[in-house]
């Protein structure tokens, strides 16, 4: 985006204040702050939140870290709950019950558990009905809040507490579900997949588009979890860069049905580079498991080719 200025953007007042109880280095809060920085000054927001780490750590009675109005309802219904809030806004505005100058935006956050799995129906319903809202998934690839159980966002072969690596197990059997594509097939006006890049431009631009595009929009953010992925907290930016440079997590957007790559690595790196940084894949590097890495690479390649095709490349 022309005029993007990292320093300016980073100096905007925080809408998620410090003092919450999320882990140091948690990807979810980095993602939330990045999304909320895309709100224009003077615009109000109502924030929704599925049950998960973010909810239990940011609004613990009697303290809230949220500067905006906020609603947590349950685990599986962040989509439906914000549907109700957004419809109430329409209804009250129509009846002249709100101050005329009030411009509200509706943004809800859910982890991959609350979004890919238990909240999938509610999300799909909200997207299909076209409520003017943004659903943001902070995807850390497992149910981290309950202690690192597998989800449908968990990558193949990851060691989780319900797909533990053992003498006859190599971790999760299935590759991850591609949720951004599934939501794109709802024919909503804007869907994007993003993560944290050095200048935070990709996530900022996509968040702004999602928030200011009328209708139901969806953002999928790769938000690493140092506890679940088992890497040193300070390595988060490196991990994200490897995720996009290996094409494990391609950056793309789908605007009114047009698929577009927003980043193409100059040199596509082998998947080992991403895997070897993380304890959850340690077993893949044991002698005799070379075939598993080949399998992983083949799946990444297949999906990357598929995405290139969709993007007319």
């Amino acid at each position: 985006m022309a005029g993007y200025n990292l320093k300016e953007v980073m100096n905007k007042p925080e809408r998620l204040s410090p003092g919450h109880r999320m882990c140091a280095g948690c990807g979810a809060t980095i993602g939330v702050r990045a999304v909320l920085r895309a709100l224009h000054e003077g615009d109000e927001a109502v924030i929704g939140n599925a049950t998960g780490c973010l909810e239990v750590s940011s609004y613990m009675y009697p303290y809230t870290a949220w500067e905006d109005s906020y609603i947590h309802n349950a685990f599986e219904n962040a989509g439906a709950t914000l549907s109700g809030v957004e419809t109430a806004y329409k209804a009250l505005k129509k009846r002249g019950k709100l101050k005329d100058d009030t411009n509200y935006k509706f943004i809800t956050f859910g982890g991959d558990g609350g979004t890919y799995d238990i909240g999938f129906q509610s999300l799909s319903g909200a997207m299909e009905r076209g409520h003017d809202m943004v659903y943001v998934c902070y995807d850390n690839g497992a149910y981290m809040n309950t202690g690192i159980q597998r989800s449908s966002a968990t990558p193949q072969f990851a060691d989780t507490t319900t797909t533990p690596v053992g003498s006859v197990s190599n971790g999760k059997l299935q590759p991850r579900k591609d949720l951004a594509s599934i939501i794109a097939e709802h024919n909503v006006p804007y869907v994007a997949q993003t993560t944290f890049t050095r200048d935070f431009k990709d996530i900022h631009v996509k968040s702004e588009k999602a928030i200011y595009t009328e209708g139901a929009c969806f953002l999928n953010i790769l938000a690493p979890c140092p506890r679940g992925w088992r890497y040193e907290t300070a390595e988060i930016m490196k991990i994200c860069q490897l995720a996009i440079d290996t094409c494990y997590w391609p950056l793309f957007e789908v605007e009114n049905g047009n698929w577009r790559l927003t980043y193409e690595p100059k040199k596509k790196l082998p998947i080992e580079d991403f895997l070897k940084e993380q304890g959850r894949f340690k077993h893949l590097f044991k002698p005799g498991n070379e075939e598993l890495i080949v399998q992983f690479q083949n799946e990444v390649d297949r999906r990357w080719e598929d995405l290139l095709y969709r993007c007319n490349r």
Partner: protein, 397 residues
């Protein structure tokens, strides 16, 4: 001025919803309440009301969206039955604990299985401890009148709790009866404007709903909720009085039908109360001192009032249209016996289960029950405390 008409119970409730004209109504169809969202959608499609309808993809989402809308500051309601209510069970608790004054029009239907679409009270009775006020109707007129009282009760500052307005599936929801309808303007005036104090869209005063609360705080929240339920009794009574003053039809926590001098009293809820009253009239002609206590408000449960109403009778039949699977009878039986014990009033009590999954309940069944009650009180027969009415025998199968 009231208007005389003929309507089914679903029509009557939809008509009341049009008159209330709430801000938001999310709903998902399920027999036998489907007609309510259908009729509301029709009213909206023809410009007869301003409500925003959300055609959600499940009942869990209908209650979730109702909560979202209510939290945002909009007067909100939904309708459902049976499995729909069961699916939203988690959300019923969230609505009540967040002190959302929303409303649910329930058309009572049995819960699976076997899957069956007919009436019993297993759905609402399963939700009796979710923190909702529950008001039951005997007929279409009461379903209509209760619906109009729902928001004034829910939104009262002493209450701030959700209200469930219950009527019997098919028996009242689909049967057409004569009904008196209020003028639109009078209903609007009675229900009034919703003026929430704290809501999401209150610019300049952001608010957060749905916290995590540790043990240091959570128990007090639940006690405050319980206190509101206790206090709601007075509000339900005063709302009914105001309703009577304006519209002429009066209600109490329960109706006492020929109970003043009664030796035998049947406690019953919903449409079957009409059957019981007819039988009592017949029995009175034969000199049998029978009466009916028709319970209107199940939550909050009027323990003291019920115990007092039973203090002069010899024998009581408690009628449950649901099974508790506890080996001792249904939920109404448990509540009534606890109330009698609490206030040290000890008539003979027999608990009956009737009308499950739409099984007929007739005046003849009521005669039989009163006959048993007189036998029990005179010591002629000794029957099991928990009995089923109108159950087929093996030979009949």
């Amino acid at each position: 001025m009231s208007v005389k008409d003929r309507m089914s119970g679903n029509e009557a409730v939809a008509y009341a919803i049009r008159q209330i004209d709430p801000d938001v109504m999310p709903a998902f169809p399920i027999t036998p309440s489907t007609e309510i969202p259908q009729m509301v959608s029709n009213y909206i499609a023809n410009g007869m009301m301003n409500t925003e309808f959300i055609p959600v993809e499940s009942e869990h989402s209908s209650m979730s969206a109702t909560i979202g809308a209510e939290a945002a500051g909009a007067r909100s309601l939904t309708a459902t039955s049976s499995c729909g209510l069961a699916l939203m069970w988690e959300e019923l608790l969230v609505a009540a604990s967040n002190r959302m004054p929303c409303v649910l029009a329930l058309v009572n239907r049995t819960l699976s299985g076997p899957i069956n679409i007919n009436c019993d009270h297993s759905d609402s009775m399963g939700a009796r401890d979710t923190g909702w006020i529950q008001i039951y109707a005997e007929n279409n007129q009461e379903a209509y009148d209760n619906m109009i009282q729902a928001f004034p009760i829910a939104e009262d500052k002493r209450v701030h709790l959700p209200v469930m307005i219950c009527q019997d599936g098919f028996i009242t929801s689909h049967a057409v009866q004569n009904i008196e309808l209020n003028e639109d303007s009078e209903v609007k005036e009675f229900v009034g404007e919703y003026e929430p104090e704290e809501f999401l869209l209150n610019k300049g005063n952001p608010v957060a709903f749905g916290p995590y609360a540790v043990s240091n705080y959570s128990m007090e929240a639940k006690k405050a909720q319980e206190k509101a339920m206790e206090d709601s009794k007075e509000v339900i009574i005063s709302t009914a009085r105001k309703y009577k003053e304006r519209f002429g039809r009066g209600f109490e926590l329960f109706e006492e039908y020929r109970t003043n001098d009664a030796d035998y009293i049947m406690i019953i809820m919903g449409s079957a109360a009409g059957t019981a009253k007819q039988a009592v009239d017949d029995l009175r002609k034969k000199g049998i001192k029978a009466g009916v206590l028709k319970l209107r408000v199940f939550r909050p449960f009027p323990s003291e009032e019920i115990a007092n109403a039973l203090k002069n009778c010899k024998c009581v039949a408690v009628m449950d249209r649901t099974e508790s699977y506890n080996g001792n009878g249904g939920p109404l039986s448990s509540e009534v016996r606890a109330a009698l014990f609490e206030y040290k009033i000890y008539p003979e009590v027999v608990c009956y289960t009737y009308g499950l999954s739409g099984r007929d309940f007739t005046v003849e069944n009521v005669y039989e029950i009163f006959d048993e009650l007189s036998g029990v009180s005179e010591g002629n027969i000794d029957i099991k405390q928990h009995r089923y009415i109108n159950l087929r025998t093996k030979e009949e199968a």
